[in-house]
Symmetry: none
Amino acid sequence: MRISARNVFAGNVRDVTKGAVNAEVTIILPGGEHIVSIITNPSVDSLELAEGKPAFAIIKASDVIVGKNLGVAKLSARNVLPGEVTNVVDGAVSSEVVIRLTGGTTIVSSITKESVHALKLQAGDQVSAIIKAPHVLIGV
Amino acid sequence: MRISARNVFAGNVRDVTKGAVNAEVTIILPGGEHIVSIITNPSVDSLELAEGKPAFAIIKASDVIVGKNLGVAKLSARNVLPGEVTNVVDGAVSSEVVIRLTGGTTIVSSITKESVHALKLQAGDQVSAIIKAPHVLIGV
Amino acid sequence: MRISARNVFAGNVRDVTKGAVNAEVTIILPGGEHIVSIITNPSVDSLELAEGKPAFAIIKASDVIVGKNLGVAKLSARNVLPGEVTNVVDGAVSSEVVIRLTGGTTIVSSITKESVHALKLQAGDQVSAIIKAPHVLIGV
């Protein structure tokens, strides 16, 4: 499988909680990071997701927010993953920020160039990659 | 109202399943494609969505992932629509990929230029347009 | 056209900046809030967006993150809008949080029930509604 999403992380299903329409699926990565995803119940069934099963967490770069100095801030986004900026590539309107998470996984974020400047983002910065659970796809 | 989303597909509601907060709505397009959307219950009520009603499935280009060689891969995204690349336009960081679905509908995807290169995307490629259900809006 | 997105805000275009593929469009709401959107250039042209033109900023509830105690935290999301929680409705997996922005606009966010509990969200809380620019559609 080749997919345009810049972030495709291999891991294992940690747990699955079903609601009426949607289910919450947690994937654990080899580096220890947990990625929480919200998908529909039929998808859980069709992918036969269950604890321990190998699965991919797939995240588009444009769905990753970068946070700095989060301190005591709390966010509703289920995925707030600490790491370090390793690279920033500027375009005309959008820029790409590469972050190495503490567990070793590399995540790519696409944000506006304006935000790169506002946050004075550069290699070496301690930041968090922030992703809402409904923005995470699961692949098997 | 006209809207900035590049993909606005006219079709008919095929079914509506309500949960506690969210509902799943399926739109069938003239070419036969099914588009699954997750919206909130108040939206279902306010748009008076019901089987057979004409409605639009609305998808931002930046919410469309492109997949190639999916083979036996399974994805949680409820919408995995096979088609053929008809055009690729590169920007500095982002690129636009145009896909003609098997039913004839044309869908536009905005992905990073890096992904266009990684997937070696070009006109004529057999691919799938992948869209998570919560990224599909419904209009009437 | 009426649309399923819970957040449809009437305002005026404040400015449009084009890149190679994407453009940044800022909408100013009557209450003074600025909403920044990233859309594709062809959408700017087709909607004939220009300074002063009346337009709608359209945001799905599932694209709104809720932040609390942001303090000195900085986020790459271009839209970080302060306000007060006026209502919380719990579902099985998802909850709905209603926020009245300082300018008077009401915004609806759909987050997981787990996050409502983690942030101890309740009416009266001072929070921020956080939305990435590519998640904002423009309507005219």
